[in-house]
Amino acid sequence: MESNEKKPRYGMVIDLDRCNGCGNCTLACAVENNVPPAHENANERTGITWMRVQKVDNNRPYPENRSVYFPLTCQQCDHHTPCESVCPQKAVEYDTETGIVAQIPVRCLGCRYCMTACPYHARYFNWWDPEWPKGMETALNPDVSTRMRGVVEKCNFCHGRLQAARAKAAVEGRRAIADAEYIPACAESCPTKAIYFGNLADAGSEVSRLAKEKNSFRLLEQLGTEPKVYFRSEQSWVHEQMNAKLKTAEKEKIHG
């Protein structure tokens, strides 16, 4: 039954006009994926935040200044996945089953080539051994393995949740899972419902509808990496700033 259906391409549409920068996505992600609290010396550039929210403004002075918050995560490039081809030992893999770009920390030797390859800064290196305050390690999520110092990690659309959803379907004898059964922690935790998640290959899904809207764009679209994370905003300055191409025809070509 699976073979008749198109393989899913999981993706996100993030509505920048709905994001109030609360940081829930970052936190829920950390909880879900066993990311430890910041090391005392960690900073914005050495920390591990698979999902990171960045404030972006229109560069105009007060009071014309306007800003939006960009929840940034692995953009799950579908094509020429920059990080995948550079890994010397196949610790990065593009999962043809789901379109998810996987990072396998146990295979990783920590050369960080993938990090220099990623234009979205979506990859994080474990500069320190993970440490949790005493006792807090008992509250780790058993569906995701912990990592150690010296390896790279990144968002995988909460793959543990996909595995759990598949297992649940398997118990019921189903091979395929319904869209609603699988949602990453960031999307689930967003109090303003700014993150839409779903199957881009399914033309009827809300994400593929939103992704094709004229207000949607992707970051660095010109590089041709075909990210599966879309952003949308009704504020024209956002589009101008992102230099986004808004050719609907092109979009349809990709997912049509």
């Binding site: 893999e93 595995q163 297992a167 649940k168 398997a170 118990v171």
Partner: protein, 193 residues
């Protein structure tokens, strides 16, 4: 044969002995299970079925080794004559302490395995991977690899890594072989978390 080769041969033989006999023995640390459990008694005498204890939960998870509460459904008090049952009741049930079973098939934390998809979808039998464990009368000694820390069952019983049965060995290669045979994708995230 020239006498000078004897030294060479001696070195060869000593190392072969060490490598094939001493090393495999020294590599593993043997541990006894906290209790002896007879699958045979439970299935034959008590008439239970496998899924009485090893069941699937609605959320797709497999219960694996049942918690003490499962044992307590029957063994709140001693009902048989086995000394192990007495230990169970005295040391675990009465003190409400979980039994620290040593799990033969325990994989590293980064490995993901869904019993549901293998049993419910692929239709594998338990003994395909676990062998005749379900009909055993006693629990084997658990052997822990001193270097990697894992159960010997993962590597397989043969030190040379040669499989003698489908359940002998639960390494990545063993999983991959079966996946290849059945045309199941071998992407990393299929089996890793």
């Amino acid at each position: 044969m020239k006498f000078q080769f004897l030294w060479f041969l001696a070195g060869l033989c000593v190392m072969l002995f060490i490598g094939w006999i001493v090393f495999p023995y020294a590599l593993y640390e043997r541990r006894e299970q906290p209790l002896q459990f007879s699958h045979k008694v439970h299935t034959e005498t008590a008439g239970m079925s496998c899924d009485n204890c090893h069941a699937f939960k609605e959320d797709g998870r497999f219960t694996g080794i049942p918690a003490l509460s499962k044992c307590m459904e029957c063994h709140t008090d001693v009902i048989g004559t086995s000394p192990h049952e007495r230990t169970l009741v005295d040391e675990y049930v009465k003190q409400n302490r979980e039994i620290p079973w040593l799990v033969y098939a325990r994989q590293p934390q980064n490995a993901y395995f869904s019993h549901a998809s293998h049993v419910k979808l692929a239709g594998l039998n338990c003994d395909r991977c676990h062998g005749p464990h379900g009909t055993s009368d006693s629990l084997r000694t658990y052997a822990r690899n001193r270097i990697s820390g894992y159960s010997r069952d993962i590597w397989g019983n043969s030190i040379s890594g040669i499989k003698t049965a489908s359940w002998d060995g639960m390494k990545m290669d063993d999983c991959a072989d079966c996946h290849n045979q059945h045309n199941v994708p071998n992407t990393c995230l299929k089996c890793h978390k």
